[in-house]
Symmetry: C2
Subunit: 260 residues, 2 copies
Amino acid sequence: MSKNSASETAAIADAAPSDMVRKPRVREQKGWRHKDAVSLLRQMILSGELAPGYALREVAISERLGMSRTPVREAFRTLAAEGLVELLPNRSVVVAELDENESIDVFSVLGTLESLAGQQACQRMTPEQLERLEALQREMEEHYNNHDRASYIRANRAIHELMVEGSNNNALILAWRLILPRAERARSVNTLDRHRWAEALEEHRKIFAALAARDGLRLSSLMQDHFARGVIERMTDTKFKNRVRVRAGSAERAAEPVAD
Amino acid sequence: MSKNSASETAAIADAAPSDMVRKPRVREQKGWRHKDAVSLLRQMILSGELAPGYALREVAISERLGMSRTPVREAFRTLAAEGLVELLPNRSVVVAELDENESIDVFSVLGTLESLAGQQACQRMTPEQLERLEALQREMEEHYNNHDRASYIRANRAIHELMVEGSNNNALILAWRLILPRAERARSVNTLDRHRWAEALEEHRKIFAALAARDGLRLSSLMQDHFARGVIERMTDTKFKNRVRVRAGSAERAAEPVAD
DNA sequence: GGATTAAATCTTGCATCCAAAAGTGATCAG
DNA sequence: CTGATCACTTTTGGATGCAAGATTTAATCC
């Protein structure tokens, strides 16, 4: 046994000459450092704080996060796989561009995916999941009645997610999760107007009914409709025209997103 | 200038004391080492050489690839984002499991995505792309007449890809590319029987016609049908029942895949 | 013998270090 | 002044080193 363990070295440290002690490199944090980097960077990209075309320098980010470059570089790979950044050989990593159809495109994909998810959820969703869905639907209605926008949106998100999970289709869930963040990014300035809100709620009632009746075809067409209306509303919304400006905007907080 | 360059050090190496020379760490390869790791590991997972549940050890892989652990770890992040491996904290990276519906699930997702892609391609595909598509269609027909299976499949793949690209929808392309490898994995033992082959070709003729006519609705339903038939054929195919065995199989070569 | 646990070993997570590539000026010819 | 060239700086790609967690092995107790 030629090598002392760290604890042994530390124990005799103050009695030994200084070249015998070694500063122990402690791993202070649990979990994964690179996960933190992924969440922070994703958040910053989605909120627009890091604008498209922005070059990410490893040292700056690692210093900001108090970690070395290694986990930051790992985070870049994850973000690249999500299509949020582009890797340039021997050059900086660059925030992916948004093209002008981004919003329509993203919602059309999300729409078809959720339409399929609904269809499959009709066949595969467990009674427990359906029960939970009913509870969420009730909760959402309540938030609507209380004009509690934020809570409504949260419940709405949970419903959509639960339905996708109810499809029990791993590939579908994977693709959906991949696209979802882009929706946040694309719709960052859209808000939910009063009329559309009421309409969306009514659509959700029908969607739930179709799920409960396990009527896949009907659900599929309801979902298509639900998304189509959402996107159209976004396009004709006067606020929509401001969207492109967000690209350049830096640390500004994203507006409350619209519910689907 | 206190520090010698690596080349200078090497030049005087045999005349100098051995502690003065330092083995220069050369960056022998262009491109990214981690890209190599991604392709190899992906290939091995898709072919079944690395079976689900298999734990990947960093050192073993880095040695096999003649690189250090760093790029291998980066490759793991990419594969994790693709859902091909699962990261366990402080534990090995594990090849993702295949569930029993994998094949149906993956093709249903691919089907809806391509259906949407076709619809959007009708509106957005450039004349150049359409021309290229026509050439590919002719090429594919030729391969069919020559009974050149491998070439047929290659052309078929190219057509599907070109159509998806023709949608010009980044989110859609991203999701499609994410799922595509899983299709390879799911269908590894399926082959293309003579009857289905002729049928598939006929479907492709109609698909091309709809694209050329820019008839999005018709194209959408044709795609759905194309995929539905493919999947149904797979399910009733007697060879299908062997699929589950492949999970355990190790380095066996995957069979020629079916065309969609 | 089987359960428990402490020590040795292995593997991961990350910091750090080095060389190559890219970027940045400064210098100089025209 | 413009453009080319070369030294210097910055930044990336990846190899190496080390400590913490996980795993295996050995030892001990009941």
